[in-house]
Amino acid sequence: MAITEEPLALTSGEAATVERPLGALTRPKGGNGWRDWLSTVDHKKIGIMYGVAAMFFFVVGGIEALLIRLQLAAPDGQILSAEVYNQVFTMHGVTMVFLFIMPLAAAFANYLIPLQIGARDVAFPRLNALSFWIWISGAVFLNTSWIVGGGGADCGWFCYSPNSGLAFSPSHGVDFYVIGLQIAGVASLISAANLIVTVLNMRAPGMTLFRMPVLTWMLLVTQFLLLFALPVITVALFLLMFDRLFDAQFFNPETGGDPLLWQHLFWIFGHPEVYIIILPSFGIISEIIPTFSRKPIFGYSFMVFSGIAIGFMGWGVWAHHMFVSGIGPFSVAAFSLSTMFIAVPTGVKILNWLATMWGGKLRFTTAMLFAVGTVAMFTIGGLSGVTHSLAPADSQQTDTYYIVAHFHYVIFGGGVLGLMGGLYFWWPKIFGHCLNEFWGKVHFWVILVGFNLTFGPMHVVGLQGMSRRIDTYAAGYGFEFWNLVATIGSFIIALGVLIFFFNVWKSRRDAADLPAPGPDPWDARSLEWMLPSPTPEHNFDTIPVVESEDEWWHRKYGYDENKRVVRIATIEEAAQDGSATGVHLPAPSFWPLVLALGLPLIGYGLIFNLWLAVVGGALTGLAIYSWALEPVDDPDADHGHGHDDHHDDDDDGGDDHAADDSEPVTAGAEGGE
């Protein structure tokens, strides 16, 4: 469809002829220009925007990482001052975690969940748009602290008090951290509730929970983790904000505040957060590996339950980040034990992926390379994680580069590689052309080599006693050689990332000359592959009735009497052609954008001048009010039913209306073929 053909051209609006310009209460029309992107409520476009923004922040965080590595390439690095270094590594961590990997996962969740469960859209399309805009305004807000806040936050990504207090971090960096993450958190919370409802409620007929693709399952677990973990960090951030802006006494030890309270709250959130990072990737490779092994996923139910188990156990281990903080030997022992056993469900996953590959016919497309790379690299990180979980051992390891090695192996090796694989896998579905396989493979190998060169040596220097978060180290401690290697490695990663961007550009340029990939270029298994590529705006012409796990595959293949797989339908026969017209779609709206713009204003206001906060509050209020008054459906399409116009705060408020949004959509689900 035309809409998705210009995915990256967010700012090119020449073509747009919008009859009804942005004005008070004027309803945006669907279209193709930039205005359409601003007002869209289509989960696919929102997903794409998440993806583009996430990649942007990947480069930002990556440049910060390169600065770190340059500084540490040799002893007594002089490239950054200590002050700037501390800001750079803090913002690197924050950017990568909250502005890159979480939104990239959100991109997949938004784009794929409705497709995989056979829905027209998410449950609350307008709230979905709201989530995106709030998230991006938080992200931009956070980064503007470089310009207007006197530098980035300088307290480390977990921002331990009291170092994060006003007395020890007087610049505005931490204020931006606190408020920026709160804004981004609201976005994730709304989106979590939205996607949970979507999965539970919007499934196509026959799509029982245990027929859902593993990816959808893992994303569902992720959303639950978000739903329950975000409020905890919200509390922590509020307390810190009150301390910094309004002189409260939460973390000031002088007056009886307890710094460990922050640590508990942060890590109660923080540990589930790491599974929020990894589970989407686990889901993605659970789609890729079966597809390119030509086998169903091995042990579907074990896969699902181990994912749930990981999500569940992730709540009981947080204090393994606090083994040396003086929480007492009993707590240490308890958390040490609970942590170890997370290896069990994770191991199940690893072995089940191997078993899927076992006896399969492995076709090494780029996506498959990334997926298999993920399995191997994550295992390395997971195993170093197990060595941290032994509390006595961790008292040597904690806050050294050995930890840095661990978490980059799990996050980059497990999370980022998997998501990259996902990009290659779903690219044709999203953009209508495949990424170039040759350059894809170059991308993979360069990244793999660079990644291991960067983070492998950190195990060594870490065990040799190199502390993390140090802006320089002295010569003579044995750190020189491996740090240089790591720096070289990081530039190889950067090269790999550049190759990826080149590939994106080249594949797009070449797309016209190559045959279109068709609905199902990989001979894949789940429902999204029965749609034309790129996905039409209305998703399904008719909502499919699901009869089995791997529904799409089963529409293509059956078994003969010898239990051998035989094709029963070609892709073209089985796929939908996207020709349906008049499918009722949720109407676009500008109000999510406007509402989201108010929040950073409130943030700046709290920091600099309360009047600004009043303006921001007014804007937000106006947006909520207008949102509530805006007819849910475009006046043209007479689908609306009576609406009350109460309006409320952004957490729960718009739900009522947005719900109405969705109902016509589902009502349009003709309930079968």
């Binding site: 501390n86 307290c155 007087p170 710094p259 091995f298 042990g299 006896g359 797989v565």
Partner: protein, 441 residues
């Protein structure tokens, strides 16, 4: 179908040992680096030199081996499967592999096996954990002011931006918990050192770790793991050294600007040396003959004026009193009117026996050169403007803001040189042996 699957799995695990070479390579590489580079890595966690660190090492080693094996197994399997089962394309290939979708026995097995491994590791962990948390401190006999007494070796370790203070209470047989309420207002200690601290060998020394500002972490890797210094808390920890020597440490909890430049050294001494050290530290600063009259007049509350052509040391003492004594304590000089330092943490290093140290400013500079001479250059740079050589927040302060770190006192070159002359008298000079030992090659 299920059984074939099982068989094949087991067979391959045995017959393809050589495929694991890549994984084994990683382990070998790791081993190599550990063995190879360790000799000059002063902070190496894998070269324990004390009871506790040994025990931790004894736990880590088998677990590393298990983890290494799992790693080799998994990564080997990945590689092996990839090489064995790959096909170039599905184009024109109608043959599907056997569609095995699950095998409960197998899956339960690989749920249970790792669980069992983890149970074993858990038991080892708990045993070690209990053992290293046991308080086995025993009192030792020391002599204070010529009197023998039993001392439960305990040191109060106080972190602040960005150096460590060590406080010894020799009077108390047991350091009373009620004495420890406010790290900014600790009872006067018998010995106070900064950056370096002495411990007797062969006995367990209890540490009580706390902080005066933000969280720091005290870590001497060869002697034990870390313990965070949390303001408002007094966390128990312990260290122990088998042999005399100098053991390097580093603050490991991010504590702001100069976190990377916050180091420390434990100096383990045998009984005799330790006693000597105590005697030395217990005595007030020893000023040369020449300084005595000035010190006496200063202590009397009316410092004598020092003329321009007095000796460097005397001029240095005068400058010190004027510029430095508001923060630094020199026992025997300004102890009568000293009331804490005008910095955020309320304390600056005690300089009474400064020249007896071998490092300064968070143990990042050597106080003596390789040839054994006093390191005037680094010290001069430090006094000229500390922020230049160790980043801090002590200059250009906003109204009412207290410095964090040592400020630039804008001394002239001549004053700097004088002050250094004076500081050098705050001995006694450490032995050449010790000077050599504290150096990092």
């Amino acid at each position: 179908m299920a059984t074939t699957q099982t068989e094949r799995l087991t067979v391959s695990d045995k017959s393809n040992f050589w495929r694991r070479i890549p994984g084994a390579g990683v382990v070998a590489l790791l081993g190599l680096t550990l063995a190879g580079c360790a000799s000059d890595a002063e902070l190496d966690t894998l070269k324990p030199e004390s009871g506790t660190a040994d025990e931790i090492y004894g736990l880590v080693l088998p677990v590393f081996i298990v983890a290494g094996l799992v790693l080799v197994l998994i990564c080997g399997a990945v590689l092996w499967l990839a090489l064995k089962n790959r096909v170039p394309t599905y184009e024109g290939d109608d043959e599907f592999p056997e569609q095995v979708s699950h095998n409960n026995t197998l899956e339960i097995t690989w749920t249970i096996v790792p669980a069992v491994i983890m149970v074993i590791i858990a038991v080892l962990t708990i045993v070690t954990h209990i053992s290293i948390n046991k308080d086995e401190a025993a009192a030792i006999e020391i002599e204070v002011d010529g009197e023998a007494r039993m001392w439960d070796p305990t040191i109060v370790v106080v972190g602040q931006q960005w150096w460590w203070e060590y406080r010894y209470y020799l009077d108390e047989f047991d350091l009373d918990a009620s004495m420890l309420e406010d790290p900014r207002d600790l009872p006067p200690a018998d010995i106070v050192t900064s950056g370096q601290f002495a411990i007797p060998t062969g006995v367990e020394v209890d540490l009580v770790v706390t902080s005066r500002d933000v969280i720091h972490s005290h870590w001497i890797p060869r002697l034990n793991g870390k313990r965070d210094a949390v303001p408002g808390r007094f966390s128990p920890w312990k260290i122990e050294a088998d042999d005399p020597g100098v053991y390097f440490g580093q603050c490991t909890e991010f504590c702001g600007l100069s976190h990377s430049r916050m180091r420390m050294q434990a100096i383990a001494m045998d009984e005799a040396d330790f006693q000597q050290w105590i005697d030395m530290q217990m005595s007030p600063a020893t000023f040369g003959e020449e300084l005595q009259p000035y010190v006496a007049s200063y202590r009397a509350g009316e410092p004598a004026t020092v003329s321009e052509d007095a000796s460097g040391v005397l001029r240095g003492l005068d400058t010190f009193v004027a510029q430095c004594a508001s923060c630094h304590l020199v026992d025997g000089l300004n102890d009568l009117d000293y009331d804490g330092a005008e910095v955020v943490s309320g304390s600056a290093p005690n300089l009474t026996h400064f020249a007896n140290n071998t490092t300064f400013a968070g143990a990042i500079f050597d106080l003596y050169n390789d040839d054994g001479t006093f390191n005037r250059d680094d010290l001069a740079a430090w006094i000229r403007n500390p922020n230049d050589v160790k980043a801090n927040f002590a200059n250009d302060l906003a109204d009412g803001e207290l410095p964090r770190g040592m400020p630039n006192r804008n001394l002239t070159e001549r004053q700097i040189s004088d002050v250094i002359d004076f500081l050098e008298t705050l001995g006694p000079r450490p032995s050449d042996e010790r000077i050599a030992a504290t150096e990092v090659e």
